[in-house]
Amino acid sequence: MTKSADRSLGSFAKDAALAAIFIVLVIALTLASPNHSFISVNNILLILVQTSINGILAMGMMYVIIAGQIDLSVGSIVGLSGVAGALFAQGGGSPVIAVLIGIVVGLGVGLLNGVGVAYGQIPAFIITLGTLTAVRGLALMVSGGAPVAGLGKDFRELASGRVLGIPLLAIYFVIIVAIAAFVLRRTVFGRRVYALGGNPVAAAVSGINVKRLTVVPFLIAGGLAGLAGVLLASRTFTGSPTAGVAYELDAIAAVVIGGVSMAGGRGKAFGVVLGALMIAVIANGLDILGIDSNAQQLIKGAIIVLAVLIDVKTRRD
Protein backbone atom coordinates (compact mmCIF):
# COMPACT_ATOMS: atom_id res chain seq x y z
CA MET A 1 0.00 0.00 0.00
CA THR A 2 2.63 2.49 1.09
CA LYS A 3 4.87 1.21 -1.64
CA SER A 4 2.32 1.95 -4.34
CA ALA A 5 1.66 5.36 -2.81
CA ASP A 6 5.38 6.05 -2.96
CA ARG A 7 5.48 4.93 -6.51
CA SER A 8 2.63 7.15 -7.60
CA LEU A 9 4.27 10.03 -5.76
CA GLY A 10 7.52 9.28 -7.61
CA SER A 11 5.61 9.09 -10.88
CA PHE A 12 3.94 12.42 -10.12
CA ALA A 13 7.27 14.03 -9.30
CA LYS A 14 8.68 12.75 -12.57
CA ASP A 15 5.75 14.05 -14.62
CA ALA A 16 6.03 17.37 -12.84
CA ALA A 17 9.77 17.59 -13.45
CA LEU A 18 9.30 16.78 -17.13
CA ALA A 19 6.47 19.31 -17.48
CA ALA A 20 8.65 21.89 -15.72
CA ILE A 21 11.51 21.37 -18.18
CA PHE A 22 9.05 21.66 -21.04
CA ILE A 23 7.54 24.89 -19.70
CA VAL A 24 10.95 26.44 -19.09
CA LEU A 25 11.93 25.55 -22.65
CA VAL A 26 8.76 27.12 -24.04
CA ILE A 27 9.20 30.31 -22.00
CA ALA A 28 12.85 30.62 -23.00
CA LEU A 29 12.06 30.18 -26.68
CA THR A 30 9.16 32.62 -26.49
CA LEU A 31 11.30 35.33 -24.91
CA ALA A 32 14.12 34.74 -27.35
CA SER A 33 12.05 34.62 -30.53
CA PRO A 34 11.57 37.81 -32.56
CA ASN A 35 8.18 39.41 -31.70
CA HIS A 36 7.53 36.36 -29.47
CA SER A 37 6.50 34.63 -32.69
CA PHE A 38 7.23 31.28 -31.08
CA ILE A 39 4.02 31.39 -29.05
CA SER A 40 1.70 32.56 -31.84
CA VAL A 41 -1.40 30.45 -32.55
CA ASN A 42 -0.08 29.54 -35.98
CA ASN A 43 3.22 28.40 -34.59
CA ILE A 44 1.57 26.31 -31.88
CA LEU A 45 -0.52 24.55 -34.54
CA LEU A 46 2.66 24.11 -36.54
CA ILE A 47 4.40 22.48 -33.59
CA LEU A 48 1.49 20.06 -33.27
CA VAL A 49 1.81 19.22 -36.97
CA GLN A 50 5.56 18.79 -36.67
CA THR A 51 5.10 16.56 -33.63
CA SER A 52 2.46 14.39 -35.23
CA ILE A 53 4.49 11.97 -37.37
CA ASN A 54 7.06 11.30 -34.67
CA GLY A 55 4.29 11.38 -32.03
CA ILE A 56 2.32 8.66 -33.82
CA LEU A 57 5.46 6.53 -34.12
CA ALA A 58 6.24 7.16 -30.46
CA MET A 59 2.81 5.88 -29.39
CA GLY A 60 3.55 2.54 -31.05
CA MET A 61 7.09 2.50 -29.70
CA MET A 62 5.69 3.14 -26.21
CA TYR A 63 3.73 -0.13 -26.28
CA VAL A 64 6.74 -2.06 -27.52
CA ILE A 65 9.10 -0.63 -24.90
CA ILE A 66 6.63 -1.01 -22.01
CA ALA A 67 6.28 -4.65 -23.08
CA GLY A 68 10.04 -4.92 -22.57
CA GLN A 69 10.97 -4.99 -26.28
CA ILE A 70 12.33 -2.60 -28.92
CA ASP A 71 11.36 -1.92 -32.54
CA LEU A 72 14.03 -0.46 -34.82
CA SER A 73 12.10 -1.05 -38.04
CA VAL A 74 9.48 1.73 -37.82
CA GLY A 75 11.52 4.28 -39.82
CA SER A 76 11.87 1.85 -42.72
CA ILE A 77 8.15 1.02 -42.49
CA VAL A 78 7.47 4.75 -42.92
CA GLY A 79 9.46 4.63 -46.17
CA LEU A 80 7.82 1.48 -47.53
CA SER A 81 4.24 2.35 -46.62
CA GLY A 82 4.69 5.88 -47.98
CA VAL A 83 5.89 4.49 -51.30
CA ALA A 84 3.12 1.87 -51.38
CA GLY A 85 0.39 4.40 -50.56
CA ALA A 86 1.79 6.92 -53.04
CA LEU A 87 2.03 4.37 -55.86
CA PHE A 88 -1.60 3.51 -55.28
CA ALA A 89 -2.66 7.17 -55.13
CA GLN A 90 -0.58 7.95 -58.22
CA GLY A 91 -2.87 5.69 -60.22
CA GLY A 92 -5.80 7.81 -59.06
CA GLY A 93 -6.71 5.58 -56.12
CA SER A 94 -8.71 6.82 -53.16
CA PRO A 95 -6.58 8.33 -50.37
CA VAL A 96 -8.48 6.36 -47.74
CA ILE A 97 -7.53 3.10 -49.39
CA ALA A 98 -3.94 4.39 -49.73
CA VAL A 99 -3.93 4.82 -45.94
CA LEU A 100 -5.30 1.32 -45.46
CA ILE A 101 -2.60 -0.08 -47.75
CA GLY A 102 0.03 1.70 -45.69
CA ILE A 103 -1.41 0.32 -42.45
CA VAL A 104 -1.54 -3.22 -43.87
CA VAL A 105 2.10 -2.94 -44.99
CA GLY A 106 3.03 -1.85 -41.46
CA LEU A 107 0.97 -4.59 -39.84
CA GLY A 108 2.71 -7.14 -42.07
CA VAL A 109 6.17 -6.06 -40.95
CA GLY A 110 4.94 -5.81 -37.36
CA LEU A 111 3.59 -9.36 -37.54
CA LEU A 112 6.94 -10.59 -38.80
CA ASN A 113 8.75 -8.80 -35.97
CA GLY A 114 6.32 -9.99 -33.30
CA VAL A 115 6.18 -13.62 -34.42
CA GLY A 116 9.96 -13.67 -34.75
CA VAL A 117 10.37 -12.43 -31.20
CA ALA A 118 7.56 -14.42 -29.55
CA TYR A 119 7.74 -17.73 -31.38
CA GLY A 120 11.15 -17.62 -33.06
CA GLN A 121 12.91 -16.54 -29.84
CA ILE A 122 14.90 -13.97 -31.80
CA PRO A 123 15.89 -10.93 -29.71
CA ALA A 124 13.78 -7.92 -30.74
CA PHE A 125 16.88 -5.83 -31.35
CA ILE A 126 18.15 -8.37 -33.89
CA ILE A 127 14.97 -9.12 -35.81
CA THR A 128 13.92 -5.48 -36.06
CA LEU A 129 17.46 -4.57 -37.13
CA GLY A 130 16.94 -7.14 -39.88
CA THR A 131 13.58 -5.72 -40.92
CA LEU A 132 14.98 -2.16 -40.68
CA THR A 133 17.46 -3.11 -43.40
CA ALA A 134 15.26 -5.41 -45.48
CA VAL A 135 12.20 -3.16 -45.51
CA ARG A 136 14.27 -0.16 -46.61
CA GLY A 137 15.64 -2.28 -49.43
CA LEU A 138 12.11 -3.28 -50.38
CA ALA A 139 11.02 0.38 -50.43
CA LEU A 140 13.88 1.22 -52.79
CA MET A 141 13.10 -1.77 -55.02
CA VAL A 142 9.37 -1.09 -55.21
CA SER A 143 9.95 2.56 -56.11
CA GLY A 144 12.91 1.92 -58.38
CA GLY A 145 14.99 4.16 -56.13
CA ALA A 146 13.13 7.32 -57.15
CA PRO A 147 10.51 9.31 -55.24
CA VAL A 148 6.92 8.67 -56.28
CA ALA A 149 5.56 12.07 -57.32
CA GLY A 150 2.55 13.34 -59.25
CA LEU A 151 -0.04 12.61 -56.56
CA GLY A 152 -3.58 13.93 -56.73
CA LYS A 153 -5.13 16.80 -54.78
CA ASP A 154 -7.20 14.39 -52.65
CA PHE A 155 -4.09 12.62 -51.49
CA ARG A 156 -2.45 15.89 -50.50
CA GLU A 157 -5.50 16.96 -48.50
CA LEU A 158 -5.19 13.85 -46.36
CA ALA A 159 -2.44 15.41 -44.25
CA SER A 160 -2.29 19.03 -45.37
CA GLY A 161 -6.02 19.73 -45.13
CA ARG A 162 -7.62 21.70 -42.31
CA VAL A 163 -10.90 21.46 -40.43
CA LEU A 164 -12.05 24.72 -38.83
CA GLY A 165 -8.53 26.02 -39.32
CA ILE A 166 -6.98 23.13 -37.44
CA PRO A 167 -4.55 21.01 -39.47
CA LEU A 168 -5.79 17.45 -39.99
CA LEU A 169 -2.42 15.99 -38.98
CA ALA A 170 -2.76 17.58 -35.55
CA ILE A 171 -6.26 16.14 -35.24
CA TYR A 172 -5.12 12.62 -36.16
CA PHE A 173 -2.33 12.93 -33.65
CA VAL A 174 -4.64 13.95 -30.82
CA ILE A 175 -7.10 11.13 -31.62
CA ILE A 176 -4.34 8.51 -31.74
CA VAL A 177 -2.85 9.72 -28.47
CA ALA A 178 -6.27 9.58 -26.82
CA ILE A 179 -6.90 6.02 -27.98
CA ALA A 180 -3.36 4.84 -27.18
CA ALA A 181 -3.46 6.35 -23.70
CA PHE A 182 -6.93 4.97 -22.95
CA VAL A 183 -6.12 1.44 -24.10
CA LEU A 184 -2.88 1.41 -22.14
CA ARG A 185 -4.33 2.65 -18.82
CA ARG A 186 -7.93 1.54 -18.81
CA THR A 187 -8.16 -1.85 -20.49
CA VAL A 188 -7.22 -5.38 -19.45
CA PHE A 189 -4.98 -5.56 -22.48
CA GLY A 190 -3.08 -2.45 -21.39
CA ARG A 191 -2.53 -3.79 -17.89
CA ARG A 192 -1.29 -7.05 -19.35
CA VAL A 193 1.27 -5.18 -21.44
CA TYR A 194 2.63 -3.60 -18.24
CA ALA A 195 2.64 -7.03 -16.56
CA LEU A 196 4.44 -8.56 -19.52
CA GLY A 197 7.18 -5.92 -19.50
CA GLY A 198 7.45 -5.79 -15.71
CA ASN A 199 7.82 -9.51 -15.14
CA PRO A 200 7.10 -11.94 -17.99
CA VAL A 201 7.42 -15.00 -15.76
CA ALA A 202 4.83 -13.69 -13.31
CA ALA A 203 2.62 -12.74 -16.25
CA ALA A 204 2.79 -16.30 -17.60
CA VAL A 205 2.04 -17.77 -14.16
CA SER A 206 -1.00 -15.52 -13.82
CA GLY A 207 -2.47 -17.12 -16.92
CA ILE A 208 -1.55 -14.63 -19.65
CA ASN A 209 -0.71 -16.15 -23.03
CA VAL A 210 2.68 -14.49 -23.10
CA LYS A 211 3.66 -15.44 -26.64
CA ARG A 212 0.48 -14.20 -28.22
CA LEU A 213 0.54 -11.02 -26.15
CA THR A 214 4.16 -10.31 -27.17
CA VAL A 215 3.15 -10.08 -30.84
CA VAL A 216 0.53 -7.35 -30.29
CA PRO A 217 2.79 -4.36 -29.40
CA PHE A 218 4.76 -5.00 -32.59
CA LEU A 219 1.52 -5.00 -34.57
CA ILE A 220 0.54 -1.68 -32.98
CA ALA A 221 3.95 -0.14 -33.70
CA GLY A 222 3.98 -1.48 -37.27
CA GLY A 223 0.42 -0.41 -38.05
CA LEU A 224 0.96 3.10 -36.67
CA ALA A 225 4.24 3.38 -38.60
CA GLY A 226 2.36 2.35 -41.75
CA LEU A 227 -0.19 5.08 -41.09
CA ALA A 228 2.57 7.62 -40.38
CA GLY A 229 4.30 6.70 -43.65
CA VAL A 230 1.27 7.49 -45.79
CA LEU A 231 0.61 10.69 -43.83
CA LEU A 232 4.22 11.78 -44.35
CA ALA A 233 3.93 11.03 -48.08
CA SER A 234 0.78 13.15 -48.15
CA ARG A 235 2.43 15.94 -46.15
CA THR A 236 5.45 16.09 -48.46
CA PHE A 237 3.39 15.21 -51.51
CA THR A 238 5.97 12.58 -52.41
CA GLY A 239 6.35 8.90 -51.59
CA SER A 240 10.09 8.88 -50.99
CA PRO A 241 11.78 5.50 -50.45
CA THR A 242 14.33 7.21 -48.21
CA ALA A 243 11.71 8.93 -46.05
CA GLY A 244 11.81 8.05 -42.38
CA VAL A 245 15.52 7.25 -42.12
CA ALA A 246 16.43 7.27 -38.41
CA TYR A 247 12.85 8.11 -37.38
CA GLU A 248 12.94 5.12 -35.04
CA LEU A 249 15.58 6.95 -33.04
CA ASP A 250 13.41 10.05 -32.59
CA ALA A 251 10.50 7.82 -31.56
CA ILE A 252 12.67 6.02 -29.02
CA ALA A 253 13.98 9.41 -27.82
CA ALA A 254 10.42 10.68 -27.28
CA VAL A 255 9.56 7.54 -25.31
CA VAL A 256 12.69 7.74 -23.19
CA ILE A 257 12.39 11.48 -22.54
CA GLY A 258 8.80 10.73 -21.55
CA GLY A 259 10.01 8.58 -18.68
CA VAL A 260 9.24 5.12 -20.04
CA SER A 261 11.69 2.60 -18.65
CA MET A 262 13.81 0.86 -21.29
CA ALA A 263 13.60 -2.22 -19.04
CA GLY A 264 9.86 -2.37 -19.63
CA GLY A 265 6.84 -2.35 -17.34
CA ARG A 266 6.72 1.38 -16.59
CA GLY A 267 5.72 4.59 -18.35
CA LYS A 268 2.73 6.66 -19.41
CA ALA A 269 1.38 8.19 -22.60
CA PHE A 270 1.39 11.67 -21.00
CA GLY A 271 5.16 11.64 -20.69
CA VAL A 272 5.66 10.29 -24.19
CA VAL A 273 3.51 13.06 -25.68
CA LEU A 274 5.58 15.60 -23.77
CA GLY A 275 8.73 13.90 -25.03
CA ALA A 276 7.57 14.09 -28.65
CA LEU A 277 6.46 17.72 -28.20
CA MET A 278 9.82 18.59 -26.67
CA ILE A 279 11.72 17.22 -29.69
CA ALA A 280 9.52 19.22 -32.07
CA VAL A 281 9.72 22.37 -29.95
CA ILE A 282 13.51 22.27 -29.92
CA ALA A 283 13.71 21.99 -33.71
CA ASN A 284 11.01 24.60 -34.29
CA GLY A 285 12.25 27.08 -31.72
CA LEU A 286 15.87 26.88 -32.71
CA ASP A 287 14.98 27.24 -36.41
CA ILE A 288 13.06 30.39 -35.53
CA LEU A 289 16.06 31.69 -33.61
CA GLY A 290 18.24 30.89 -36.62
CA ILE A 291 20.42 28.42 -34.73
CA ASP A 292 21.85 25.87 -37.14
CA SER A 293 20.76 22.26 -37.08
CA ASN A 294 24.06 20.89 -35.84
CA ALA A 295 23.64 22.75 -32.56
CA GLN A 296 20.07 21.49 -32.40
CA GLN A 297 21.31 17.91 -32.34
CA LEU A 298 23.61 18.77 -29.47
CA ILE A 299 20.75 20.20 -27.45
CA LYS A 300 18.44 17.27 -28.24
CA GLY A 301 21.11 14.83 -27.09
CA ALA A 302 21.60 16.73 -23.86
CA ILE A 303 17.87 16.70 -23.13
CA ILE A 304 17.61 12.93 -23.70
CA VAL A 305 20.34 12.33 -21.15
CA LEU A 306 18.87 14.86 -18.72
CA ALA A 307 15.44 13.21 -18.95
CA VAL A 308 16.82 9.78 -18.17
CA LEU A 309 18.80 11.24 -15.30
CA ILE A 310 15.60 12.65 -13.85
CA ASP A 311 13.94 9.27 -14.38
CA VAL A 312 16.65 7.52 -12.39
CA LYS A 313 16.72 10.10 -9.60
CA THR A 314 12.95 10.16 -9.09
CA ARG A 315 12.62 6.37 -9.06
CA ARG A 316 12.82 5.42 -5.40
CA ASP A 317 10.76 2.31 -4.91
Binding site: N43, L46, P167, P241, D292
Partner: protein, 330 residues
Protein backbone atom coordinates in the same frame (compact mmCIF):
# COMPACT_ATOMS: atom_id res chain seq x y z
CA UNK B 1 40.47 -33.21 -63.53
CA UNK B 2 39.47 -30.52 -61.09
CA UNK B 3 43.02 -29.29 -60.88
CA UNK B 4 43.27 -29.04 -64.63
CA UNK B 5 40.06 -27.09 -64.80
CA UNK B 6 41.35 -24.67 -62.19
CA UNK B 7 44.57 -24.31 -64.12
CA UNK B 8 42.71 -23.61 -67.33
CA UNK B 9 40.51 -21.07 -65.57
CA UNK B 10 43.47 -19.35 -63.99
CA UNK B 11 45.18 -19.16 -67.34
CA UNK B 12 42.11 -17.61 -68.93
CA UNK B 13 41.75 -15.06 -66.16
CA UNK B 14 45.44 -14.24 -66.36
CA UNK B 15 45.21 -13.78 -70.09
CA UNK B 16 42.18 -11.59 -69.64
CA UNK B 17 43.97 -9.49 -67.09
CA UNK B 18 46.97 -9.15 -69.34
CA UNK B 19 44.75 -8.03 -72.18
CA UNK B 20 42.94 -5.42 -70.11
CA UNK B 21 46.25 -4.31 -68.70
CA UNK B 22 47.48 -3.62 -72.20
CA UNK B 23 44.25 -2.10 -73.39
CA UNK B 24 43.87 0.49 -70.68
CA UNK B 25 47.01 2.46 -70.15
CA UNK B 26 45.74 6.04 -70.37
CA UNK B 27 45.49 6.62 -66.65
CA UNK B 28 48.75 4.88 -65.87
CA UNK B 29 50.92 7.88 -66.49
CA UNK B 30 48.81 9.96 -64.17
CA UNK B 31 47.65 12.60 -66.59
CA UNK B 32 44.80 12.00 -69.01
CA UNK B 33 47.05 13.11 -71.75
CA UNK B 34 47.53 12.17 -75.35
CA UNK B 35 50.90 10.37 -75.17
CA UNK B 36 49.49 7.64 -72.95
CA UNK B 37 46.78 6.97 -75.44
CA UNK B 38 49.22 6.93 -78.31
CA UNK B 39 51.27 4.35 -76.45
CA UNK B 40 48.21 2.21 -76.12
CA UNK B 41 47.47 2.29 -79.80
CA UNK B 42 51.06 1.51 -80.60
CA UNK B 43 51.25 -1.53 -78.32
CA UNK B 44 47.97 -3.23 -79.02
CA UNK B 45 46.59 -3.60 -82.46
CA UNK B 46 43.34 -1.61 -82.76
CA UNK B 47 41.54 -2.35 -79.49
CA UNK B 48 37.95 -3.19 -80.06
CA UNK B 49 34.75 -2.12 -78.42
CA UNK B 50 32.82 -4.63 -76.34
CA UNK B 51 33.21 -6.23 -72.93
CA UNK B 52 32.16 -5.02 -69.52
CA UNK B 53 32.13 -1.47 -68.15
CA UNK B 54 31.60 -0.90 -64.45
CA UNK B 55 29.50 2.06 -63.33
CA UNK B 56 30.10 2.72 -59.63
CA UNK B 57 27.39 4.94 -58.20
CA UNK B 58 27.76 6.49 -54.73
CA UNK B 59 24.31 5.15 -53.82
CA UNK B 60 21.16 4.01 -55.60
CA UNK B 61 18.50 5.71 -53.54
CA UNK B 62 17.30 8.68 -55.53
CA UNK B 63 16.11 9.56 -58.95
CA UNK B 64 19.28 11.35 -59.96
CA UNK B 65 21.59 8.36 -59.54
CA UNK B 66 19.12 5.85 -60.97
CA UNK B 67 18.66 8.04 -64.05
CA UNK B 68 22.42 8.28 -64.62
CA UNK B 69 22.80 4.52 -64.21
CA UNK B 70 19.90 3.67 -66.53
CA UNK B 71 21.17 6.01 -69.26
CA UNK B 72 24.64 4.47 -68.95
CA UNK B 73 23.20 0.98 -69.35
CA UNK B 74 21.19 1.96 -72.40
CA UNK B 75 24.19 3.62 -74.04
CA UNK B 76 26.34 0.58 -73.25
CA UNK B 77 23.86 -1.74 -74.93
CA UNK B 78 23.88 0.53 -77.97
CA UNK B 79 27.69 0.50 -78.23
CA UNK B 80 28.02 -3.21 -77.54
CA UNK B 81 29.14 -3.12 -73.89
CA UNK B 82 27.71 -4.83 -70.87
CA UNK B 83 27.33 -2.08 -68.28
CA UNK B 84 27.28 -3.34 -64.70
CA UNK B 85 26.09 -0.90 -62.02
CA UNK B 86 27.54 -1.07 -58.50
CA UNK B 87 25.94 0.55 -55.46
CA UNK B 88 28.52 2.21 -53.20
CA UNK B 89 25.97 2.60 -50.39
CA UNK B 90 27.38 6.03 -49.48
CA UNK B 91 30.41 4.29 -48.03
CA UNK B 92 33.85 5.23 -49.33
CA UNK B 93 35.51 1.98 -48.32
CA UNK B 94 32.76 -0.10 -49.95
CA UNK B 95 33.38 1.81 -53.14
CA UNK B 96 37.12 1.22 -53.08
CA UNK B 97 36.51 -2.50 -52.52
CA UNK B 98 34.17 -2.54 -55.51
CA UNK B 99 36.79 -0.89 -57.70
CA UNK B 100 39.43 -3.38 -56.55
CA UNK B 101 37.09 -6.25 -57.38
CA UNK B 102 36.15 -4.85 -60.78
CA UNK B 103 39.84 -4.52 -61.60
CA UNK B 104 40.37 -8.24 -60.99
CA UNK B 105 37.23 -9.28 -62.83
CA UNK B 106 38.10 -8.25 -66.33
CA UNK B 107 36.22 -4.98 -66.61
CA UNK B 108 37.50 -2.96 -69.52
CA UNK B 109 36.76 0.39 -67.95
CA UNK B 110 35.36 1.91 -64.78
CA UNK B 111 33.19 4.98 -64.33
CA UNK B 112 32.98 6.06 -60.72
CA UNK B 113 30.78 8.61 -58.98
CA UNK B 114 32.95 9.17 -55.90
CA UNK B 115 31.25 8.70 -52.53
CA UNK B 116 34.01 10.93 -51.24
CA UNK B 117 36.42 13.04 -53.25
CA UNK B 118 39.34 11.93 -51.09
CA UNK B 119 38.09 8.45 -50.27
CA UNK B 120 37.97 7.37 -53.89
CA UNK B 121 41.70 8.01 -54.46
CA UNK B 122 42.88 4.51 -53.33
CA UNK B 123 40.45 3.07 -55.87
CA UNK B 124 41.87 5.25 -58.65
CA UNK B 125 45.36 4.10 -57.74
CA UNK B 126 44.28 0.43 -57.74
CA UNK B 127 42.74 0.79 -61.20
CA UNK B 128 45.80 2.63 -62.51
CA UNK B 129 48.12 -0.03 -61.10
CA UNK B 130 46.16 -2.67 -62.94
CA UNK B 131 46.00 -0.57 -66.09
CA UNK B 132 42.21 -0.42 -66.16
CA UNK B 133 41.02 3.02 -67.34
CA UNK B 134 38.92 4.80 -64.73
CA UNK B 135 37.02 8.08 -65.04
CA UNK B 136 35.03 10.09 -62.50
CA UNK B 137 31.33 10.82 -62.96
CA UNK B 138 29.19 13.62 -61.45
CA UNK B 139 31.90 14.63 -59.00
CA UNK B 140 35.66 15.04 -59.29
CA UNK B 141 38.21 13.25 -57.15
CA UNK B 142 40.57 15.28 -55.00
CA UNK B 143 43.45 13.89 -57.08
CA UNK B 144 41.59 14.13 -60.34
CA UNK B 145 44.67 13.66 -62.53
CA UNK B 146 44.71 10.01 -61.45
CA UNK B 147 41.51 9.61 -63.45
CA UNK B 148 41.33 9.48 -67.23
CA UNK B 149 38.72 12.23 -67.36
CA UNK B 150 35.73 13.77 -65.58
CA UNK B 151 32.21 13.51 -66.97
CA UNK B 152 29.44 15.52 -65.41
CA UNK B 153 27.95 18.90 -64.82
CA UNK B 154 29.73 21.96 -63.54
CA UNK B 155 28.23 22.39 -60.08
CA UNK B 156 29.51 25.90 -59.48
CA UNK B 157 28.17 27.09 -62.81
CA UNK B 158 24.82 25.39 -62.31
CA UNK B 159 24.48 27.10 -58.92
CA UNK B 160 25.46 30.46 -60.42
CA UNK B 161 22.83 30.02 -63.11
CA UNK B 162 20.21 29.15 -60.49
CA UNK B 163 21.00 32.10 -58.21
CA UNK B 164 21.26 34.56 -61.11
CA UNK B 165 17.89 33.53 -62.52
CA UNK B 166 16.33 33.45 -59.04
CA UNK B 167 17.46 37.02 -58.32
CA UNK B 168 16.18 38.12 -61.70
CA UNK B 169 12.80 36.50 -60.95
CA UNK B 170 12.37 38.21 -57.57
CA UNK B 171 13.19 41.58 -59.11
CA UNK B 172 16.78 42.01 -58.03
CA UNK B 173 16.29 42.76 -54.34
CA UNK B 174 14.74 41.45 -51.12
CA UNK B 175 15.06 38.68 -48.55
CA UNK B 176 15.75 35.10 -49.55
CA UNK B 177 16.20 31.82 -47.70
CA UNK B 178 18.76 29.22 -48.77
CA UNK B 179 18.31 25.49 -48.13
CA UNK B 180 21.57 23.56 -48.24
CA UNK B 181 22.37 19.89 -48.72
CA UNK B 182 24.32 18.06 -46.00
CA UNK B 183 26.78 20.59 -44.55
CA UNK B 184 30.29 20.03 -45.80
CA UNK B 185 29.32 17.63 -48.59
CA UNK B 186 31.02 18.34 -51.89
CA UNK B 187 27.90 19.21 -53.87
CA UNK B 188 26.73 21.49 -51.06
CA UNK B 189 30.07 23.32 -50.95
CA UNK B 190 30.44 23.83 -54.69
CA UNK B 191 26.84 24.97 -55.09
CA UNK B 192 27.31 27.32 -52.16
CA UNK B 193 30.41 28.72 -53.84
CA UNK B 194 28.34 29.50 -56.93
CA UNK B 195 25.71 31.25 -54.78
CA UNK B 196 28.32 33.36 -53.00
CA UNK B 197 29.83 34.57 -56.25
CA UNK B 198 26.44 35.76 -57.51
CA UNK B 199 25.33 37.20 -54.15
CA UNK B 200 28.53 39.24 -53.93
CA UNK B 201 27.42 41.08 -57.07
CA UNK B 202 23.89 41.62 -55.73
CA UNK B 203 24.12 43.58 -52.46
CA UNK B 204 20.37 44.28 -52.48
CA UNK B 205 19.57 40.63 -51.96
CA UNK B 206 19.75 39.66 -48.30
CA UNK B 207 20.04 36.08 -47.07
CA UNK B 208 17.55 36.13 -44.17
CA UNK B 209 17.76 32.41 -43.41
CA UNK B 210 20.07 29.55 -44.34
CA UNK B 211 20.28 26.02 -43.02
CA UNK B 212 20.55 22.42 -44.14
CA UNK B 213 17.71 20.03 -44.91
CA UNK B 214 20.06 17.18 -45.91
CA UNK B 215 18.53 16.75 -49.40
CA UNK B 216 15.32 15.52 -47.69
CA UNK B 217 11.85 16.81 -48.68
CA UNK B 218 10.31 16.44 -45.20
CA UNK B 219 13.18 18.38 -43.62
CA UNK B 220 12.91 21.15 -46.20
CA UNK B 221 9.20 21.40 -45.49
CA UNK B 222 9.68 21.73 -41.76
CA UNK B 223 12.55 24.17 -42.05
CA UNK B 224 10.57 26.56 -44.25
CA UNK B 225 7.47 26.21 -42.04
CA UNK B 226 9.60 27.43 -39.16
CA UNK B 227 11.09 30.28 -41.18
CA UNK B 228 7.63 31.45 -42.20
CA UNK B 229 6.57 31.26 -38.57
CA UNK B 230 8.90 34.13 -37.73
CA UNK B 231 6.87 36.48 -39.91
CA UNK B 232 9.98 37.61 -41.78
CA UNK B 233 9.05 38.60 -45.29
CA UNK B 234 10.69 36.40 -47.91
CA UNK B 235 10.66 36.91 -51.65
CA UNK B 236 12.27 33.67 -52.66
CA UNK B 237 13.69 30.38 -51.46
CA UNK B 238 16.72 28.93 -53.19
CA UNK B 239 17.21 25.23 -52.56
CA UNK B 240 20.27 23.15 -53.42
CA UNK B 241 18.12 20.38 -54.84
CA UNK B 242 14.58 19.88 -56.10
CA UNK B 243 13.54 17.49 -53.35
CA UNK B 244 13.98 20.10 -50.61
CA UNK B 245 12.48 22.79 -52.86
CA UNK B 246 9.33 20.70 -53.18
CA UNK B 247 9.17 20.63 -49.37
CA UNK B 248 9.44 24.43 -49.36
CA UNK B 249 6.59 24.65 -51.87
CA UNK B 250 4.39 22.58 -49.54
CA UNK B 251 5.24 24.79 -46.56
CA UNK B 252 4.41 27.94 -48.52
CA UNK B 253 1.12 26.50 -49.73
CA UNK B 254 0.18 25.37 -46.24
CA UNK B 255 0.85 28.90 -45.00
CA UNK B 256 -1.48 30.25 -47.70
CA UNK B 257 1.33 32.16 -49.40
CA UNK B 258 1.43 30.29 -52.71
CA UNK B 259 2.64 32.64 -55.43
CA UNK B 260 3.95 35.21 -52.94
CA UNK B 261 7.22 33.42 -52.30
CA UNK B 262 9.08 31.97 -55.24
CA UNK B 263 10.94 28.67 -54.99
CA UNK B 264 13.94 27.58 -57.04
CA UNK B 265 15.65 24.18 -57.22
CA UNK B 266 18.45 22.35 -59.00
CA UNK B 267 18.53 18.91 -60.69
CA UNK B 268 15.24 18.91 -62.64
CA UNK B 269 14.09 15.64 -61.07
CA UNK B 270 10.51 14.42 -61.58
CA UNK B 271 9.22 15.93 -58.32
CA UNK B 272 10.71 19.32 -59.22
CA UNK B 273 9.36 19.20 -62.77
CA UNK B 274 5.91 18.33 -61.41
CA UNK B 275 6.08 21.30 -59.02
CA UNK B 276 7.00 23.65 -61.87
CA UNK B 277 4.07 22.42 -63.96
CA UNK B 278 1.86 22.86 -60.90
CA UNK B 279 3.02 26.47 -60.46
CA UNK B 280 4.43 25.98 -56.96
CA UNK B 281 8.05 26.14 -58.08
CA UNK B 282 9.35 28.82 -60.43
CA UNK B 283 12.53 27.33 -61.78
CA UNK B 284 15.14 24.59 -61.65
CA UNK B 285 18.44 23.81 -63.34
CA UNK B 286 18.72 20.79 -65.60
CA UNK B 287 22.25 19.47 -65.80
CA UNK B 288 21.16 16.85 -68.31
CA UNK B 289 21.16 13.96 -65.86
CA UNK B 290 20.72 11.13 -68.41
CA UNK B 291 23.37 12.89 -70.50
CA UNK B 292 25.94 12.26 -67.76
CA UNK B 293 25.35 8.51 -68.03
CA UNK B 294 25.34 8.54 -71.82
CA UNK B 295 28.46 10.71 -72.15
CA UNK B 296 30.19 8.61 -69.50
CA UNK B 297 29.86 5.41 -71.49
CA UNK B 298 30.58 7.13 -74.80
CA UNK B 299 33.77 8.62 -73.39
CA UNK B 300 34.84 5.32 -71.83
CA UNK B 301 34.24 3.63 -75.18
CA UNK B 302 36.63 6.13 -76.79
CA UNK B 303 39.27 5.51 -74.12
CA UNK B 304 38.95 1.74 -74.54
CA UNK B 305 39.34 2.09 -78.29
CA UNK B 306 42.44 4.18 -77.72
CA UNK B 307 41.08 7.57 -78.74
CA UNK B 308 42.12 10.77 -77.04
CA UNK B 309 39.60 12.37 -74.70
CA UNK B 310 39.65 15.82 -73.09
CA UNK B 311 40.29 16.01 -69.31
CA UNK B 312 36.72 17.20 -68.74
CA UNK B 313 33.53 16.27 -70.53
CA UNK B 314 30.84 18.65 -69.30
CA UNK B 315 27.10 18.58 -69.75
CA UNK B 316 25.34 21.89 -70.25
CA UNK B 317 23.21 23.50 -67.58
CA UNK B 318 19.81 24.76 -68.65
CA UNK B 319 17.33 26.95 -66.76
CA UNK B 320 13.91 25.32 -66.66
CA UNK B 321 10.74 27.31 -66.02
CA UNK B 322 7.04 26.79 -66.74
CA UNK B 323 7.72 28.06 -70.26
CA UNK B 324 10.17 25.40 -71.38
CA UNK B 325 9.41 22.62 -68.90
CA UNK B 326 7.76 20.46 -71.55
CA UNK B 327 10.86 20.49 -73.69
CA UNK B 328 13.12 18.95 -71.02
CA UNK B 329 14.79 16.06 -72.78
CA UNK B 330 14.74 12.59 -71.35
Amino acid sequence: MKKRLTLALTATVAAGLLLTACAGTPAETGAPSTPANENTTAETTAPEAGGKIAVMMSHMTNEFVTTVAEAAKAKGAELGYEVVVFDGKQDASTQVTQIEQAVTQGFKGILVEPVSTDGVVPGLIAANDAGVPIATLVQRASEQDLAATYIGGDEVNAAKLQMTEAIKAIGGSGNIGIIYGPMGSDAMLSRQKGYQEVLAENPNVKVAFEDTANWVTAEGLQLVENWLSTGTELKGIVSQNDGMAVGAVQAIENAGQKGKIMVFGIDATADGIAAIKDGGMQGTVSQDTPGIGRLGVETMDKIIRGETVPPEVLTTAQWITAENVDTVGK
